[in-house]
């Protein structure tokens, strides 16, 4: 029995040796089943007009411009909002309620760290030539991969943990109509449960958009892979890669715009709201106004004492 590990290592070695592709040298794919280097290479040439040309057009005419617009316009709008309407300030005296348990906060922060790596490194890649390219920008590309890995770790748990609370409800329409009350200074009860309609939109964009980003990103990372789906989709591998990059960049515009909004809301628009992601607690005043439906629910169910107890230090 003692020889078993040794035996399995050796037999694994033989197995591995067996998969070294014994094909003609010029056709040797990086992975068995690769379609990037194959007769399809030639068959795919005419199809360049479909997605190749489209990618060329978008990349040379739109990508840099659209990302610049997002990079400048979204923060400008928020700066104006901050100067004209100003932030919402709630009393942090009085009772606090535990809204986000520790494990949810940990998951959130891993995703947040992922985004903090992903978004700036993505911008550095897009505008790489203004920074001279080379090692610093290549390093950004690696950061982009690491950020993606962190986000990929938690995207499923995060989707699951908030799924129920993120389902759209009737009062979200009312929230939309008053734009969450962010256009006035007035303190009033905003129709929202644990999450408001804005947070819900961010959730759906970030979680499902994020999954698409991961899938397209992984495709571009590995480039040369074996996929049975290709035949069904009637696509060449190179076309699939072209679609992947275009979807990745298009979706990135949307996600980045939402990400900036999320940052603004948590850091500036609602003073102290970031604390709920640090200690998990929200003040009674904030909860009463911004999440009135949720507040009424915990009062009615008599959960308030228990939740307040957990926030006493």
């Amino acid at each position: 029995m003692k020889k078993l590990p040794l035996f399995s290592v050796i037999s694994l070695g033989f197995l591995y040796a067996g998969v070294v592709p014994l094909v003609e040298p010029n056709m040797a794919p990086q992975h068995p089943g690769s379609r990037l280097i194959s007769p399809e290479l030639i068959e795919a040439i005419p199809s360049w007009h479909k997605y190749g040309e489209l990618f060329l057009y978008l990349q040379t005419h739109w990508v840099k411009l659209l990302f610049l617009i997002v990079l400048l316009a979204v923060p400008t709008v928020f700066l104006l909002h901050y100067l004209i309407v100003g932030p919402k300030i709630f009393s942090h005296e009085g009772r606090k309620f535990l809204i986000f348990p520790t494990w949810q906060r940990i998951i959130h922060w891993i995703a947040a760290l992922g985004f903090i790596l992903l978004v700036p490194s993505g911008f550095f890649i897009i505008y790489g030539k203004y920074f001279g390219g080379g090692t610093p920008i290549r390093f950004m590309r690696y950061m982009h991969d690491i950020g993606a890995f962190l986000f990929a770790l938690v995207v499923i748990p995060m989707t699951v943990m908030w799924f129920k609370e993120m389902l759209p409800r009737l009062w979200d329409i009312k929230w939309m109509m008053i734009l969450g009350g962010y256009l006035s200074k007035e303190k009033r009860e905003i129709p929202a449960s644990k999450f408001n309609a804005g947070q819900k939109m961010w959730y759906w964009v970030a979680m499902f958009g994020g999954m698409v980003m991961i899938i397209t990103g992984v495709m571009m990372y590995f480039q040369d892979f074996d996929i049975a789906l290709l035949k069904k989709l009637n696509l060449y591998q190179i076309d699939l890669l072209r679609l992947a990059i275009m979807i990745h960049l298009g979706l990135a515009l949307l996600i980045v715009a939402f990400f900036f909004t999320h940052l603004y809301m948590s850091l500036f628009a609602i003073k102290g709201s970031i604390e709920s992601m640090i200690d998990g607690c929200k003040s009674e005043d904030e909860l009463k106004h911004l999440h009135s439906i949720y507040y009424k629910k915990i009062i009615k169910e008599g959960k308030d004492k228990e939740l307040a107890e957990k926030c006493k230090d």
Partner: protein, 198 residues
Amino acid sequence: MYEYARMKFYCDEDRCIECNACTIACAEAHELPVGIHRRKVVTLNEGIEGKEFSVSIACMHCTDAPCSQVCPVDCFYIRADGIVLHDKDKCIGCGYCLYACPFGAPQFPRDGAFGIRGVMDKCTMCAGGPAPTFSEKEYQLYGQNRIAEGKVPMCAAVCSTNALIVGDAESVSKIKRERDAAKGKGPMTPYGWDQAYK
């Protein structure tokens, strides 16, 4: 239109016998890493009599090269004679050039602990790279600079049937015209190109 003649490759599919000499000679001359094939011989309709033919393809050194237009760090440079070269010190290995290239020419070696994708590698038409001509660095990164030595690219030099020809566009098309005329074929465009260049 151009002050200089533009350098082009052409592989005559009537003559290519799929011997792979070009692939191997290129890999040897430039000491390419395993898995990188700057030139590939691809066979179509394998086994179908009368329809099977092979063609050797690499970077076509496009006019208005799409790869250079999409590169986010602008690392391509196109020589006056039309040879499309790229700077490995600037390249970040993003892969955009591959997505834009009609011919699947750019390739990416993998190395490092996680098999991380390296910087792009493609056919240089044996013209080296941006590093000083004949320097050790140029050889390490881009391989032999045969053009500077006054030689034709390795692949064309070893092609035993003269299927693979290289030179300024005028001379290449003249050779092709003469070959077709000798066979009584009349002017022809290679497989797929009539659509690719429409």
